[in-house]
């Protein structure tokens, strides 16, 4: 795995119909480079997970895509247009949910939804009613009375009830409770079934794992990995957890299990995907009483890019 693997994961032949294509984006604030040659491609009809920790450049990327910031270098194409120049026409075809929604203190949630919908050229009345009900939103409260999760719901209802091709969601579920998070995931699945494209920026990995067709991982303003979850897992080891009745004296003597560790009878380690059979044979000699074999979760992949390689730069 190297940091240079930037756009390798993009499917071949996908060039024809991308809703977002950014190449070599650079955005600097003084000496600080928020974006440092970022490449990002979102194909039509896919839910694209955009993962990275706080401060990695996710929101800056999105603001460039929305034409709010002008990139210092690089090219951006959004729905076939230039996000800086064709603002009005392009924004009619997309909806956006910011990660930290601030509402107008004097306007009610319902007024804010209608304002945002109206500016986008009207919203689907039936869908609006349905979403308000599903998200259990009180639309008669004033902006300053809403909790964070409820403010987020206002923005979600406004975005999801618009008739658009592309949804740009910047950490859309921050502040939502688990029930509402589930509603959100169902609604995004519906949007996808309708053929809409979604850019889903998040640091909630289970959300991305459940929804995203492809994933881009950003680190310090650069994409460090991109592909489907399977593609991201390629070349990574499967993790094994087992309880052994007769554990080996030295776990290092197991040939096919790497990073082996033993804590009493609890055994953990990793295995190359093509050596699982050999590894199991080796382990079964020690009387397995419980066993979990799982491909690396997104969290493992994520931590590999951030946790252990922090000192790389």
């Amino acid at each position: 795995m190297s940091a240079a693997a930037t756009t390798d994961g993009a499917p071949a032949g996908g060039r024809g119909d991308a809703v977002i294509r950014a190449e070599g984006l650079v955005k600097s604030y003084g000496a600080f480079r928020a974006l440092d040659g970022l490449d990002l491609t979102v194909e039509r009809g896919e839910v694209h997970g955009f993962l990275g920790p706080n401060g990695a450049g996710k929101s800056t990327t999105i603001r460039v895509l929305l034409g709010l910031l002008k990139a210092n270098a690089g090219t951006v194409e959004l729905l076939g247009g230039d996000p800086w120049k064709d603002v009005v026409a392009l924004h009619r075809r997309l909806a956006y949910v910011p990660g930290d929604v601030t509402l107008w203190p004097g306007l009610t949630g319902g007024q804010a939804i209608d304002l945002l919908g109206n500016l986008r050229g009207g919203l689907d009345e039936e869908r609006r009613r349905d979403l308000v009900e599903r998200f259990e939103l009180d639309t008669a409260k004033r902006g300053r009375q809403y909790s964070k999760g409820n403010r987020q719901k206002v923005a979600l209802v406004a975005a999801l009830s618009s008739d658009v091709e592309l949804l740009i969601l910047d950490e859309p579920t921050s502040g939502l409770d688990p029930l509402m998070e589930a509603v959100f995931q169902e609604e995004i699945a519906k949007e996808k079934a309708r053929g809409r494209s979604v850019l889903l920026s998040s640091h909630i990995l289970s959300e991305a794992e459940a929804l995203a067709d492809r994933i881009s991982i950003i680190r310090s303003g650069k994409i460090v990995d991109v592909g489907t979850l399977d593609e991201l897992r390629r070349g990574t080891r499967t993790s094994v957890q087992a309880v052994l009745r007769t554990p080996p004296a030295d776990p290092a003597e197991l040939r096919f299990v790497k990073d082996a560790r033993l804590d009493g009878t609890k055994f953990t380690g990793t295995v190359e995907p093509d050596q699982i059979n050999e590894a199991m044979a080796e382990l079964s000699r020690h009387q397995i009483s419980a066993l979990t074999v799982a491909p690396p979760s997104l969290e493992d992949l994520f931590l590999r890019h951030y946790g252990t390689e922090d000192d790389r730069s």
């Binding site: 924004h91 997309l94 910011p98 306007l107 319902g110 007024q111 304002l115 008669a140 004033r142 300053r144």
Partner: protein, 527 residues
């Protein structure tokens, strides 16, 4: 004292945090005092020029409205007490109001206060800290202003008395702001309440001074008390004690109100509103809705100004009839033309207040942006030009309407007592003043549109116009310097051949600023 536990550590941190916001006020007010001592010797070097100053200023009611009565203009300290006294007290009060609200109410809106309130901290600590900060700043202002004025050549006792009135004014409005912070349900409302009290007190004092009302009326407003200190012409310290007592009383009331108030709420609870959007779902409607409250209150205030200034015309024409030497440039002899010249000056003052109104609306555009409320709008199908236009229209229209309202009311009220004046001409004069206000609004708009870092320029334009218009002639500045003020180019409509070219140029400059604003707003990054 568990009610204010944690006061000391919080005060220390808050003062360090806020010093950059407080320092400019101290510098400004100190400069006001120090500069008049310095300028006096330079502009009025001899006895003759000082006598002439006393003769012209002593009886100018329009200036008395802003600066209070001129008691003794024959010494530098007396001149300083007049030029810096009322104005310095006004700014000191404004400083105190902003400090208190910023450090109590505004933090509750932003959620920062919640973090503090969860710490080991008494219920009233945050409000007590905010008021302690304002009190500290007021006293520091008094000390700095005294020392600097002294260093510039002011008399020790006279300067002390003057600087003490600044501190007294700050202390009194610390308490007023503390009460307002408990009544309003957010920082903006609380600020409006406190500044409204301040404005009314200042205008009432101005009216009484300009009308040369009975001496006891000086005790009607807090600013009147401070005038009774009479710096450089008596130095009477007793009214200051009254000011301190007033401050203690209002501060105590504020703390009492605070004890029973829910966090984040005011005395006026917000009501639920409509679940569906109406007119405010367009960008034009939104801009109107966001500014509605403040526009309505300002317009009422402007109508009230028209009434107050209109009633002033009667007493003023008596003052003018006393055979004083008050004769503004361009006015020919005759009592009604002198009165009209006075009305022109009044409309200049109203124009400056209208410019404050307009610039405030412009500054709100940027405040919305820093609150990240512009981002979701521009992420919808809305062009930047249209967004800016929706706010710019209000920033231009509202002060213009305000001037017209004052002009109409002023005209009607004046003609009731002074038949020599035509209401139509007063209204016409108000209308003619509008382009001068617009150019100041456009300057602020250019800054907010193109370079928001430099948005202070908007306020500097208003301050410079104020200084040049009201004080410039006094310091006998060159014509080209006075011409920097757009109000200098507004002709009197009663002149036989009013010269409109200057005003046309002013309007064109305003147009240029507006163009810069829109061109810049299209190009810059949005927060």
């Amino acid at each position: 004292m568990t009610a204010v536990a944690g006061l000391r550590p919080l005060l220390k941190v808050a003062l360090v945090q806020d010093r950059r916001n407080i320092a400019p006020w101290v510098v400004l007010i100190t400069a006001l005092s120090a500069s008049s001592v310095l300028a006096y010797a330079w502009v009025f070097p001899d006895e003759a020029s000082r006598r002439q100053l006393t003769a012209t200023l002593g009886s100018n009611p329009a200036l008395a409205l802003i600066f209070g009565p001129a008691r003794d203009l024959s010494t530098a300290d007396g001149f300083n007490a007049w030029r810096a006294g009322a104005l310095g007290a006004f700014f000191a009060a404004l400083m105190a109001v902003f400090i208190v609200i910023r450090n109590s109410r505004a933090d509750e809106d932003s959620g920062q206060a919640e973090l503090l309130a969860s710490g080991v901290m008494g219920r009233q600590t945050r409000l007590a800290t905010a008021m302690a900060m304002a009190a500290f700043a007021s006293i520091a202002l008094g000390a700095v202003s005294w020392l600097v004025t002294l260093a510039c050549g002011g008399g020790p006792w006279d300067s002390l008395a003057l600087s003490a009135t600044f501190a007294g004014s700050g202390l009194m409005f610390t308490g007023v702001a503390g009460i307002a912070a408990n009544i309003g349900s957010d920082a903006r409302t609380a600020n409006t309440l406190a500044v409204a009290v301040l404005g009314v007190a200042f205008i009432v004092r101005g009216y009484l001074d300009a009308a040369q009302a009975a001496p006891w009326t000086a005790w009607l407003t807090p600013f009147g008390w401070l005038e009774e200190v009479r710096p450089a012409s008596g130095n009477n310290p007793w009214p200051l004690l009254a000011a301190v007592a007033f401050a203690a009383l209002t501060a105590g009331l504020a703390l009492a109100l605070n004890r029973n108030r829910d966090f984040g709420m005011g005395l006026i609870a917000p009501k639920p509103g409509p679940g569906r959007g109406g007119r405010e779902t367009t960008v034009w409607g939104l801009a109107f809705r966001l500014n509605r409250g403040s526009v309505i209150s300002w317009l009422i205030a402007f109508a009230a100004l028209g009434v107050v200034f209109g009633f002033l015309a009667g007493p003023v024409s008596d003052v003018l009839g006393d055979g004083s030497a008050f004769l503004p440039t361009g006015a020919s002899a005759g009592s009604s033309s002198m009165l009209f010249a006075f009305l022109v000056q009044i409309l200049q003052i109203v124009a400056i207040i209208a410019a404050v109104f307009g610039v405030q609306i412009v500054m709100r555009i940027y405040a919305e942006e820093t609150d990240y409320r512009v981002e979701p709008l521009l992420a919808a199908s809305l062009s930047r030009a249209k967004y800016l236009a929706s706010n710019a229209v209000i920033a231009f229209a509202a002060p213009a309407i305000a001037l017209l309202i004052t002009g109409a009311v002023l005209g009607v009220v004046v003609t009731a007592t002074e038949p020599g004046i035509s209401a139509g001409e007063v209204f016409g004069q108000a209308a003619a003043t509008i382009p001068a206000v617009w150019v100041l609004v456009a300057l602020a708009l250019a800054a907010v549109g193109a370079r928001p870092d430099a948005r202070l320029v908007g306020w500097l334009g208003v301050v410079a116009t104020f200084a040049l218009t009201l004080l410039g002639p006094l310091f006998r500045l060159w014509d080209w310097v006075l011409g920097i003020s757009p109000l200098h180019h507004v002709p009197s409509v009663t002149a036989p051949h009013p010269d409109w070219t200057g005003l046309l140029i002013v309007a064109l400059v305003g147009l240029a600023f507006t163009t810069v604003a829109f061109a810049g707003f299209r190009r810059r990054d949005i927060l």
